[in-house]
Symmetry: C2
Subunit: 391 residues, 2 copies
């Protein structure tokens, strides 16, 4: 048996960061920026009015001051002459503060008569002018790698980028194997069950940024498995689910080996999810996950998402945080245990049954409690390491 | 001026929950389940072996017990005859525990000689049989509405659903208006800026489940705005950005009114984002957001995402949680203030400049500190209400 850390290191060795591709800004959200980009101009590109009002040359205008209005500066339609003492320019939010102006007096503090304005009201102390480059300066870097959210998209748009270099999506082929499997919606004969974990894993990996091909169900025959593996051609990562334990009917290792894959079989000291196949064929990484639904999904969180993140150029390891236990835990056995747990009132509590076949318990869980091998019993309130489950 | 609560109530009144549509399971992740669905069979559908080994009729097999192997039960290939005392069936994980069997002895605890097995080892106390319906029973409900995550998908697959009724995606048309705007990547002439908030808002709304049409930039003319508004036809929600304040160049209200929209102009007592247009034309909801980039994005979080959630059948209001302040706050003015803030070491701290034009500060923020009108100054450690910003 190898440890989870050893298994993770081995799996991460199977993949490399992927190349970049350019995508339009409208398709960049959720993608990982591949390299730092620079602002193409100052933002604002000029001293800009923050209000609707009158731009004047005085830095300290006072109630009663009188100015002559000599023109108008609107957003996109600047006033191009300089403004000198005693002069004002009608101005709107976002417009260039004309050369020589130091303050924008808001229109509520002005009474206008023809081309003459008189200041009144309780003039504020601010200039109401946003200085050029106050948000960012031309050449300022937006750092990479970074998964782009909506606010990043707004900022990168403002920086002048219509397209962005993002990391290519990892392509993943998922193969569920087993004579007992039927597709969701198909009627079940005795002994049959509905294939489920591939659907869940596909959704999990797609949410992380992968492009997933869910292959047709394979039967437990050399021929069926061999055909299915050929359908996985071209994927960066091939995942089989089921057939990775030591049963007489577990043919995946044999068929994958026949296909030339340099495979290693590992028993990982973890619950759920002990058996794991892993190897490499040329550019393809290959991982065989156990068939129990919960095992497959937990292995997805612990092993497969980190592989995707490495391919995407992101920090691979799952983020662990500490949270008080809402109920005690008995001592753990010799394997690292990822217990399905719910969070309530800021504390986590393991769900009652940890059987690795129970998808209903997994679906209702919020996080995985991470228990090292031989962890002693823990009391309520103990600060427990947990990994948040992805939606 | 109306309060944020009044504005929210008014905006939510403009939209209704949308109808449902059936989608394949592979396209259901991230969608909102429209109505509860039931499990189509028990899971497991039968008493199933949890291990590879031998199924025997004894509930308490002991070391030294001898059984005669009369057949094999594999996943998908059941053994159909009953098993009586003294008999055993070779069995594999996931296979039906044949009629009459009460325990699966794992293969490591068995020595086999022809069709005779002798138990040995330290037999565990468990049956190694997963009872039928142990995960869920036929007819058990999966509740709606619920946004479906990957674990939900796995569970719904196991429940036998190849397609699911989900709420139709809200369609949103976004129109950025302003003579000063150029698309990202286009060169800027004096007085021009790059359009950004529509791109950020589109990404934000898409992440919540909307289908967004970003319309061509409109100029500040009646003709240009009127044409752009016609391009918004058919959308559930039309959003304009910019042109909603009181400046001479703000034509959106006029043009929308000419188009027959029953519009109301509101000054909302909030920072950032005071001006707001809202109304309805037949089936379409219409909202005009302020043009400052940060205002538009914050209004997206506070007003538009709740509208989408109502259309999706979800609880509309932003989730507020309490978090200690990492730095003091001065007293708030008469408007509700959504301060951009960062979270570090479990405490939140307002970013230094709260100017509503600074996208760089918004992009680096984690949450919005929600300050009610006239909130007094607050000390470090005060439990502050915050709204997490969407990515």
């Amino acid at each position: 048996m190898i440890t989870v850390e050893q298994a993770t290191a081995h799996l991460l060795d199977l993949v490399d960061p992927l190349s970049a591709e350019d995508v339009g800004l409208r398709h960049a959200a959720g993608r990982v920026l591949a390299q730092a980009v620079q602002a193409r101009h100052d933002q604002p590109p000029f001293d800009a009015s923050a209000m609707d009002g009158y731009a004047v040359s005085s830095a300290k205008p006072a109630p009663g001051d009188i100015f002559r209005v000599i023109g108008e500066s609107a957003a996109g339609r600047p006033f191009s002459a300089p403004v000198t003492e005693g002069e004002a320019v009608r101005i709107f939010t976002g417009a260039i503060a004309p050369e020589g102006t130091k303050t924008v007096v808001i229109q509520e503090d002005v009474s206008r008569d023809g081309d003459r304005i008189t200041l009144s009201g309780n003039l504020g102390s601010g200039s109401n002018i946003r200085p050029a480059a106050g948000d960012f300066a031309k050449g300022e870097a937006f750092a990479a790698p970074r998964r782009l959210g909506s606010r990043d998209i707004a900022l990168l748009a403002a920086m002048g980028h219509g397209t962005l270099p993002v990391v290519r999506r990892p392509t993943v082929a998922i193969l569920m194997t087993g004579d007992e499997l039927r597709n969701p919606g198909e009627a079940l004969d005795p002994g049959q069950i509905t294939a489920s974990n591939g659907y869940g894993l596909a959704a999990m990996l797609e949410a992380e940024g992968a492009e997933v091909r869910l292959l047709p169900l394979a039967r437990d025959t050399v021929q069926s498995l061999a055909m299915a593996l050929r359908l996985a051609g071209g994927a960066d990562l091939v995942i089989t689910i089921g057939g990775a334990s030591v049963g007489d009917h577990d043919l995946v290792a044999q068929v994958a080996g026949d296909a030339g894959l340099d495979l290693a079989f590992h028993k990982v000291a973890m619950r759920p999810g002990k058996p794991l196949l892993a190897g490499r064929l040329g550019e393809q990484a290959f991982v065989g996950l156990p068939g129990n639904p919960v095992s497959a999904m937990v292995c997805g969180v612990i092993f497969i998402l980190p592989m995707l993140r490495k391919m995407l150029g992101l920090a691979p390891d799952p983020v662990t945080r500490l949270m008080p236990l809402g109920a005690p835990l008995t001592a753990n056995g010799p394997r690292q245990h990822y217990m399905r747990a719910r969070v309530e009132a800021g504390a986590c509590r393991a769900v009652t049954s940890q059987d690795s076949a129970l998808l209903s318990r997994l679906a209702s869980a919020d996080c995985l409690i991470v228990r090292p091998p031989n962890d002693p019993s823990r009391e309520t309130g103990f600060l427990q390491a947990v990994i948040d489950l992805p939606d």
